[in-house]
Amino acid sequence: MKINVLLLLVLFSACKQEEKLQIEKNDLVKVQETNVENRDLTVYNFDELEPLLNKKEDKIYVVNFWATWCAPCVKELPYFEALNEDYKSKNIEVLLVSLDFPKQYETRLKPFIAEHKLKSEIVVLNDVDSNTWIPKVDKEWSGAIPATIIYNKSKRAFYEKSFNLEELKTEVNKFLK
């Protein structure tokens, strides 16, 4: 993929300035579309999601509930992405649980994921009976997003708040012995 882009760039630089701009634009659009197609979204109800909140492997799991329409969620996404990238060697898995509306999966969520090149694992939770499942995520959760769980085999913490990168790393570090 990278080589292709490079080749294209070399090709473009040989073209006239105007054409180059035109082609690059088209190419960008194409790349986005392919990404959208490639990224399959798994849509779960809560029963299906629940095992992902209770994994027993020897890892630290960071689960963030978010949606594209939630401004503070979007603001903190890069920190979860950074955590996913920087802490890979530390046996940490980030899971982003989107609460976007079903009618916006194709029109909004998928393009958003492609545009922001999100690399963490993403699943979608579509379960309207929130009064049943919210307390199963955490008793203290009022239902406001963003919300985050950090857990491992023996310990669990829940946060109904927004994070900055430093705070997020501080909380995760508490799980690193």
């Binding site: 949606a67 329409w69 939630c70 401004a71 503070p72 609460l99 509306f101 079903p102 309207v128 009976d129 929130s130 009064n131 919210i134 307390p135 203290e140 959760w141 009022s142 239902g143 406001a144 997003i145 963003p146 109904e160 927004s162």
Partner: protein, 206 residues
């Protein structure tokens, strides 16, 4: 004299510990079921100030924290209007309060609230929580967030906290109409059965 010093010392320790434990606690300090709600005086979209005490005839209120910008709140706009149409004449009017910081969410400012109310034909007051002092008293954390209160001799007592119903996506697929059930029970002089529910919403912007 020694005694006084001792008492002061003790009080300092107790209060110190109390304030420490309070700051450590992250749980909600807002109203619980059975609490008496303090009245408020907030500006409505028509420029007038509104308090619960203005409603001499009311038996209670459906207090709804909502806003223009949260998709969940928007999904419930028509249903909030429906509740007011159904219950205002029966003594349980809706009072909507917009709790967000408009510097963070400019589209929730007074002009936008007026526009939205006009577009949707709101028949209930839509108040601005200017200075954001009222929502923390209630302990509201998100929009939409509903408090049904009943007027009693003691004051307005919280009888229900939570969601309007159990399906934000489709009003026709709702199985449990939590707020309606609560208000109906109160109108019939009965206890509210489901007193608290949880629902996803947008965090109130501070």
């Amino acid at each position: 004299m020694k005694k006084v010093v001792k008492v002061i010392l003790l009080l300092t320790i107790v209060f110190g510990f109390w304030s420490f434990s309070k700051s450590e606690k992250t749980t909600n300090n807002g109203y619980k079921i059975g609490d008496v709600v303090a009245d408020f005086k907030l500006e409505n979209i028509d420029g007038k100030m509104v308090s619960m005490s203005d409603y001499k005839e009311a038996k209670g209120f459906i207090i709804t924290f909502t806003c223009n910008t949260c998709p969940y709140a928007v999904a419930y706009e028509d249903r909030v209007e429906g509740l007011n149409k159904m219950y205002a004449t029966k003594g349980y009017p809706v009072i909507a309060i917009m709790p967000n910081n408009i510097e963070v969410k400019p589209d929730d400012n007074m002009e936008s609230m007026q526009e939205r109310a006009k577009e949707k034909g709101f028949t209930f007051p839509y108040l601005m929580d200017k200075g954001q002092r009222v929502y923390p008293q209630f302990g509201a954390t998100k929009t939409p967030h509903i408090y049904v209160v009943k007027k009693t001799d003691k004051g307005n007592v919280v009888k229900y906290i939570g969601a309007i119903d159990d399906n934000y996506q489709d009003a026709n697929a709702v199985k449990n109409k939590y707020v309606e059930d609560a208000v109906n029970a109160l109108l019939n002089g009965k206890d509210v059965i489901v007193k608290e529910t949880k629902a996803i919403g947008c965090s109130i912007k501070v």
